[in-house]
């Protein structure tokens, strides 16, 4: 048990880099001036919000608090129930990284709760000084903007709150209020506008998408010697794959996409992408807008109906999987036109895992021997969704797949993985350059946990199943002594190891089944040593 005041943890430094969850001293105002770019009026309006700050913003904002509290039980209960026990104060990676007390979950909630109390509670109306209630002013509004865009909505705090208070719910509501009075954030709102206009976050039009996929098919044929398809808009396919658009162009995302294609090929199923619903991500969640989230989700329903598919499978994307697993049925269901014998929707890792269980996939694990792997649980998958039939399948299934395709796998500190996973630092609509300082500091708990397994087990690479995590890590890992390509897609490792029927060569040249057995023997010997 830590001493009463927790101060000793500050001196509990394991190795030169320190404990991943080391608690900093308070640095008041450290991040007060960090402000992400506000949205362009055109993008605001595309989402149904005022273009710029409206004249009666104060009245509208106060009314919106009441409106949201009446429509969302979580928001109402969480505004009332906090007792300021302090259990959450050391749980946010942004607090751990910055020391700014307003990045402590309870303090972040209080930015809004103090205003709720002032206008909606007896104590706050009559004795504001007593309960920390305050008037809504322009300064408060600016503070909301800055600090509610320093929350990645990762829900780590909600795991540890005795009442399950989820700061993500407060932060989503705050962004909805900000949007409603005309001060949205550029990064999120520009992207949502693009999805509505073109169908994906990147603004990749169908023609460019088709060309990209054809190029990738050629690459796959060069690599494997056989034809592995990446179909687009093929009516009558069994499976519609919905994947983050980053999978079409970014590294290491794209290698994951090739992995999905190989798995589908080996499993012998027919599948297709959709140019209309060419995006798994749904930033409507980040801005707390049910209507925008629903509109984006309905694109997937429409694509599934038009293509006549029987199943929907999602690629590797964290918040997209939360929206898909937890919300899609609500937002765009019922999916009674799909095959009810499969989960609706299904995660690509559930698909791959099932194929491994059935024995339809052949692997040469030694092809991943250059990597000593660990796995980063993405926050939205870990705490906002599930895979498989059992609670916790979202932790077991990715690890089972990694162990099936890699010889060297090690977990990081238990307090930084699974339901306690620390966020990559770039989620929740913060993956934008002007927030790089925050992103780097917010990534430090994860990076320190990684440094520990590097020191203890020689881990060289980390795998993830989230497009945002992958992009974020490829940017921040170099700041912590790793190469930018030290972050890998899980299906990239699947892709490396899989042996397709009729495949003559492989990336390493001539590894045969015999070589693979020898490699297995060697690694078994190494493990025994």
């Amino acid at each position: 048990m830590a001493p009463l005041d927790d101060d000793s943890k500050k001196n509990d430094v394991r190795g030169p880099e320190g404990h991943p969850l080391e608690i900093p001293r308070l640095a008041c105002g450290a991040m007060a001036d960090l402000k992400s770019y506000p949205a362009h009026p055109a993008h605001q309006e595309a989402l149904g919000f005022p273009g710029e700050l409206i004249d009666n913003w104060k009245e509208v904002a106060i009314a919106k608090i009441g409106d949201l509290a009446s429509k969302n039980r979580a928001f109402q209960v969480y505004l009332d129930a906090c007792v300021k026990c302090g259990a959450c104060t050391d749980k946010c990676h942004y607090f751990l990284g910055t020391g700014d007390p307003k990045n402590m979950p309870v303090a972040r909630q209080d930015l809004l709760r103090s205003v709720y109390r002032r206008y909606y509670t007896f104590a706050g109306k009559n004795f504001p000084w007593l309960v920390g209630a305050r008037d809504l002013t322009r300064e408060v509004l600016d503070e909301w903007y800055n600090y509610y865009h320093q929350c990645s909505q990762c829900r780590r705090c909600s795991v540890f709150c005795p009442y399950g208070i989820d700061t993500a719910e407060i932060s989503m509501a705050a962004r909805e209020i900000l949007d409603t009075v005309g001060v949205g954030q550029k990064y999120c709102n520009e992207i949502i506008a693009k999805v509505k206009d073109i169908g994906n976050n990147l603004g990749l039009n169908p023609k460019a998408l088709r060309a990209t996929l054809e190029d990738l098919e050629e690459d796959l044929e060069d690599e494997t010697g056989i034809s592995v398809r990446l179909p687009l808009d093929e009516k009558g396919a069994d499976i519609l794959l919905i994947t983050p658009s980053a999978d079409f162009f970014a590294e290491p995302h794209i290698d994951g996409l090739l992995g999905y294609a190989k798995v589908f090929h080996a499993a012998g199923v027919s599948w297709t992408l959709s140019s209309y619903a060419s995006e798994a991500a749904n930033f409507g969640m980040f801005i707390g807008s049910y209507e925008n989230m629903r509109e984006i989700a309905l694109r997937i329903r429409k694509a599934a109906i038009e293509l006549g598919v029987k199943r929907i499978v999602f690629g590797e994307c964290g918040h997209a999987w939360r929206v898909a697993y937890s919300f899609l049925n609500t937002l765009a269901g019922p999916f009674d036109f799909l095959d009810q014998n499969y989960p609706i929707p299904q995660h690509i890792l559930e698909f791959t895992y099932n194929e491994i269980q059935k024995g339809t996939l052949k692997f040469d694990k030694s092809r991943n021997d250059e990597f000593r792997m660990t796995y980063h649980d993405s926050c939205n998958v870990a705490r906002g969704s599930r895979m498989g039939d059992m609670p916790g399948g979202q932790f077991e299934i990715p690890r089972a797949v990694l162990r099936a395709v890699c010889n060297n796998y090690f977990d990081m500190d238990r307090d930084t993985i699974m339901e306690s996973t620390v966020c990559c630092g770039g989620g929740g609509g913060l993956l934008t350059d002007e927030l790089m300082d925050l992103r780097t500091k917010g990534a430090s708990p994860r990076m320190k946990a990684l440094q520990q397994v590097t020191k203890d087990h020689g881990v060289t690479h980390m795998a993830a199943i989230c497009a945002i995590c992958k992009t974020q890590f490829s940017k921040v890992m170099p700041k912590f002594g790793y190469e930018m390509d030290s972050i890998l897609s899980v299906h990239q490792l699947v892709s490396n190891a899989i042996i397709l029927d009729g495949q003559e060569s492989n990336p390493d040249g001539q590894a045969s089944i015999k070589d693979q057995q020898e490699a297995d023997d060697n690694s078994a010997t190494a493990a025994e040593e």
Partner: protein, 239 residues
């Protein structure tokens, strides 16, 4: 004095019961538009029952979070529960056998309460982070609870109170009769502070007590793929 306290207790009871009823009605009637259980979460209603029970009985999440807050919080709450049950003897005639049986434990429980409250209050001064998030009301709430506990213990250990007369007073209130209330200071302080606590209960952070039952991250079943969840206002969007 007896009349004043009688009126005070009628008022406090009314505020507590009506205020809580209104709040509970508000929580119950407010829809939860999305499935947001903090996962891993139970996939059945029975599983959720156990999850909630573990939260209520063991403060499971708090235990995972911070052992000191858990220890002091648990001491206080369990102490309070036993002390409250012990007080049932003032409202029942004859006294239920199990209330009689726990009487001696109630005395120890009062010490647990005080230690728990003192520990929680000490953290509000000693731990920088908790000092930062504490409002005057957070300190006053602890002062109020400590005042109740200590004044109650003084009646037991310092200034013996005519508890038979106290019981006659409260049994009378339950039958709408005002009987004579003893006038020792600790008793009047104790009863005054308890009435104050009852009055502020529905308008303060003490709402965590009903709130915990309505927390969607804890009480929702993890079955969104199997069962479509739709709030009434969200269904309107589909028209």
């Amino acid at each position: 004095m007896s009349t004043l306290y009688a009126l005070l207790y009628y008022f406090a009871t009314l505020v507590l019961v009506a205020g809580l009823a209104l709040k509970i009605r508000q929580y119950a009637k407010t829809p939860a538009p999305l499935k947001i259980p903090t996962t891993p979460a139970p996939t059945t209603g029975g599983g959720v029952f156990w999850r909630m029970l573990r939260e209520l009985v063991f403060f499971e999440s708090l235990f995972k979070s911070n052992k000191w807050i858990w220890l002091f919080g648990y001491l206080f709450h369990v102490g309070l529960l036993i002390v409250l049950l012990r007080h049932l003897r003032y409202f029942t005639q004859p006294v239920w056998f199990w209330v009689e049986w726990i009487q001696p434990f109630g005395v120890y429980a009062s010490f647990a309460m005080v230690i728990g409250l003192a520990g929680l209050w000490a953290r509000r001064f000693l731990v920088e982070r908790i000092r930062y998030i504490s409002s005057p009301s957070d300190h006053l709430m602890l002062a109020l609870l400590l005042g109740i506990a200590i004044s109650g213990m003084m009646m037991k250990f310092v200034d013996g109170t005519d508890i038979v007369a106290v019981k006659v007073f409260f049994l009378g209130l339950m039958r709408f009769q005002i009987n004579e209330l003893p006038t020792q200071t600790p008793l009047l302080v104790h009863l005054g502070l308890v009435a104050l606590l009852m009055i502020i209960f529905p308008i303060s952070k003490l709402l965590h007590a009903p709130g915990v039952f309505f927390s969607p991250t804890r009480n929702q079943v993890d079955n969104p793929r199997e069962k479509r969840h739709l709030a009434a206002w969200a269904a309107e969007l589909e028209r």
